[in-house]
Every structure is written in C-alpha cells, then in structure tokens.
C-alpha cells in the first residue's frame, strides 16, 4: 500500500532493523502505545508514529506489533525479510 511510513532501527542487540507503519491500516486503537509507549505515539490524525525506534527490546516490539488489531505494524529483520505479520 502506498501510505506507509518507514523507521530504521539501529539497536545492537536487535534482529529487527526496520519498522513500517501502514497508515491506511492504522485506526489509532493505540494498543501499540499500551505495550510500548516509548516506541509509539499517535499523531493528530489518530495514526501511530514511531518516536523511539530503538527504545524497546525485540520481544516488546514484537508484542506491540502483535497487539495491533489491524496488523498495521510491520517488522523487518537485517536481511530485509518481513518477520511480522
């Protein structure tokens, strides 16, 4: 989909190197914020944005992505392979 926003992650102990938020899918349910408030925030359009790509460990980040009721958070590993969803 066209309306995607990419965030690069540079955390030494992480296998996830990129977070994408699909703004067409995002409905602002804010479950990602509940799981990892240091990573995600909403903007005034009620869409999730990444405010700290490196703050959470991989387990928390994955849990945040999995909690999204529209699967709007996509995670990629260092080889560029999509690991979630």
């Amino acid at each position: 989909m066209a309306n995607q926003k990419e965030y690069i992650r540079n955390r030494a102990d992480s296998n996830i190197s990129k977070i994408i938020i699909d703004r067409d899918l995002c409905i602002g349910a804010a479950s990602c914020i509940a799981v990892s408030g240091s990573t995600f925030e909403l903007d005034n359009e009620n869409k999730a944005v990444v405010i700290g790509a490196d703050t959470a460990d991989d387990e928390t980040l994955k849990m945040a992505a999995e909690s999204c009721p529209t699967k709007a958070i996509l995670l990629f590993d260092k080889e560029g392979k999509q690991v979630y969803p």
């Binding site: 899918l25 804010a30 479950s31 903007d43 005034n44 359009e45």
Partner: protein
C-alpha cells in the same frame, strides 16, 4: 472428566492473551479455552471500521492469528461452546453440552453482550447489533442493498456505523436519547463538533428522541418515535450499550457488581479464579476504586496480567486506559477516567472554532482523564501524567494553553504519591 491446569472461559482478546501468556510462562501446562464462537482470535475492533466494511481493508485482516493457533500451541480449544455452570469448591466448569472440565486455575473472560433492545418490533429482520464477527458479516451483507438506515445511540457504534453508511451512500439518521452526541461523557461543545461532521456528511441527527416501535410487514420498514415522527428505513443498528451474562456462575459464590469483582491482581473472591477484560470490575490502583472498562487495549493488557498472575508472577494491573475513534475528518480520544462528576475540575484546552479541543479532567491536584478532539497526539503524554500522579494544581495556565507542550509537565513536576 478432563482436567486442565488452566481453563479459560472466553476466547476474545483478554482470554486469548492470557492463554498466550500462560503458554509462554508454562510450556508444558495443560490449557483449555472455551469460546462461544467457533473462531480463533479476531479483531473485534475492526468490525466497526468503515474501511473494513467497504473492502478497503481485506477481510482476512480480521484474523489476528491463524485458525490453527490453539492447535499449534498445544491448547485445547472448545469452539462454539459456552460454560453452563461453575462449581468453585470442586473446581469444575460444566459446558452447555453437558461435559465437565476440571481446573486448577480458572479465568473468566467472557466479555459482554450488546444490550438487547426491548421495544416492540425490535425482533424484526433488519435490526442489527454489532458485537461478533457474524454480526459484522450480516451488516456487510445488508448494506449492499440498503437505501436508508437508522442508528440508535450516541456512542461509538453509532458514530462509526453512521460514517460507514455515509460512505456507502446510504441515507442515514442517528437517533439519540440525549441532548447531543456522547452526552454525558463529552461536554456539549465536543458533542456538537461530532454532530457537525456527521451532518456535514449528510447524516441526520435526531436528538432528545426515543423510539416507540419498529414497524414493518416482516422486515423493518421504519421506526416510530415517541413523539409520533416516523422514519422510513431498511435497517437499524442498535448501539445502546452492553450487558453482562452472570447466569452460568451465579450460584458459585463469586462476587459481582456491574461486572465480576476483582482485586488489582484481577483475582476474584473465589480461590484460583481470575477475571479479565470487559466483564472484570477491578480495583484500579490509580483511581483507588473499582472500575469496569470495555475496550480492546484494556482487555489485551488485563489478559496479559491475569495470565502472569495465574502463572504465579505477582503483578498488579496498573494501567491508564484509553480508546479512540475517527471518521469524517475528526478524531476522538478518551483517556483515563472520563466519567462526569461534581468533584471534577474541567480545563478546556483549544476551541471547537479551531477544530481542536480537549478537556482535561482533574480531581484534587491530579489529572485523572481527558477527552481529546483532533488532539490524539496528546494521548500518550496525558496517560503518563495520570500514571505518574503529577501535581497539576499550579499548572492550569499551561493546561489551558493549546500550544503548550504537555511533555514539559512530566519533567519538572514532583510526584505526589510514589506508587
């Protein structure tokens, strides 16, 4: 009789997340999940979203995990089954088909049902509720041919369904018992902002009105209001709130109020019985009272915490809840405790005229909640201000200034209570 270490009644997001947490903590435990629907976890949140209904979001996105998730995780799934009774002394849950499951630890996460409309004619074909995916499918089918629709209630089901109908070019009326949309959780100025976007999309709002009767031959043909007005329609969406089913555990001795009462660990008064999600009325550590909340984020977090506690990790549920909705160019968010009350000080932040308006709700010296219109970017910081018990009694000026960055209050303030 089959015996399980963990039995979870309810396969919504609370029950599912508890099962997932328990499996992570205890890889070999026997776990059973009883679900009134035949499906593995799906996104209940998606069911009211116009993009989903109109096919902009593919239908398959509704499934949160594969249908084989339970099998893959070695969890026994009792689909299309409901619990019929609970014997807390013998630790047995009896199912509607007569079978019995023994448990060591039990979670009740059955959620709530859409409140049924008791008025004459409301059983007619064409009256819909929205709670389950099967309800959603029926509405999806109905909108294909509907010309005129009515939604009942001034809450988020009505808001999102009216948005959907407007996008589907269906002539729509919203019937609200109150003076304005979302009364009394929102103030009139906020409610009117929502009504303005609804009417701007061609939706008619009928305030201060109650339905007397649903009329039609077999199918719905219209509704009659108590003042005699008649509105013709092919379908009616009823979003008038929720109700809990207590019947199956009524004789177990479990304590209930509006929901099942639980402490901050989500444990009920019965030994080894926990509760989570919409049906739980728990001791909220931040508000220092029992509350019951009905939203996805809350149910997800409670499922996780209940699972942890069932697995022996002693962790209280301490969470500022929030939920949001959007449509027709407006976003609405509710953070923390937004109930109206005499003891509350409301600080207005922004103006309806600039299409950006928040209400900050204060009790004593602390922020307890907020309602945000087109200001969802402040949701996170407000949740943090509530969670950290920040003293804002000297900060009304900053709170009133819509351009002041609320993050500034997080850094400088001294916490009143260290939880």
């Amino acid at each position: 009789m089959e015996k399980y270490k963990y039995v979870i009644v309810g396969g919504g997001v609370a029950g599912f997340t508890a099962a997932e947490t328990l499996r992570q903590k205890d890889v070999s435990a026997t776990i059973a999940v009883i679900n009134s629907e035949p499906y593995a976890l799906y996104s209940r949140v998606m069911l009211s979203k116009p993009d989903f209904f109109l096919g902009k979001i593919p239908f398959d996105k509704v499934w949160m995990r594969g249908q084989d998730w339970y099998e893959k995780n070695n969890i026994t799934f009792f689909g299309s089954k409901t619990a019929a009774s609970l014997d807390a002394d013998k630790k047995i849950v009896k199912l509607s088909d007569g079978s019995e499951l023994g448990y060591e630890k039990l979670l009740i996460a059955t959620g709530v049902c859409a409140r049924k409309w008791g008025i004459p004619g409301s059983e007619r074909e064409g009256v819909y509720y929205l709670r389950t995916i099967d309800d959603g499918k029926k509405i999806m089918e109905a909108i294909k041919s509907a010309k005129r629709a009515v939604t009942i209630g001034g809450g988020f089901i009505s808001f999102e369904m009216a948005d959907l109908f407007a996008l589907a070019k269906i002539d729509t009326s919203v019937v609200i018992r109150e003076n304005y949309f979302w009364e009394p959780t929102l103030d009139e100025a906020s409610g009117k902002m929502i009504e303005k976007v609804l009417t701007g999309s061609g939706v008619k709002i009928i305030n201060n009105a109650e339905v007397q009767e649903v009329v039609g031959e077999n199918k719905v043909e219209g509704i009659v209001l108590k003042d005699g007005r008649k509105i013709e329609c092919d379908m009616v969406i009823c979003g008038i709130g929720v109700a809990c089913d207590f019947n199956w555990f009524a004789s177990s001795g479990i304590k209930t109020n509006r929901g099942i009462l639980a402490d901050e660990y989500l444990q009920t008064n019965l030994p080894d019985v926990w509760t989570a999600g919409d049906i739980a009325e728990y001791n909220d550590l931040l508000l220092e009272e029992n509350i019951q909340l009905g939203n996805w984020v809350n149910a997800h977090e409670q499922g996780r915490i209940a699972g942890l506690n069932m697995a022996g990790v002693h962790e209280p549920f301490k969470f500022v809840s929030f939920y949001t909705t959007q449509g027709m160019g407006i976003s609405v968010a509710f953070v923390g405790d937004t109930r109206p009350g005499q003891d509350r000080i409301i600080i207005k932040r922004g103006y309806p005229e600039i299409n950006s308006y928040a209400r900050i709700i204060i009790v004593g010296k602390e922020l307890v909640g907020a309602t945000l219109i087109n200001r969802t970017s402040e949701l996170s910081v407000i949740a943090k201000l509530i969670e950290n018990n920040i003293d804002v009694s000297q900060k009304y000026k900053e709170l009133e200034d819509p351009n002041f960055d609320l993050k500034g209050l997080l850094k400088t303030e001294v916490k009143i209570i260290q939880l």
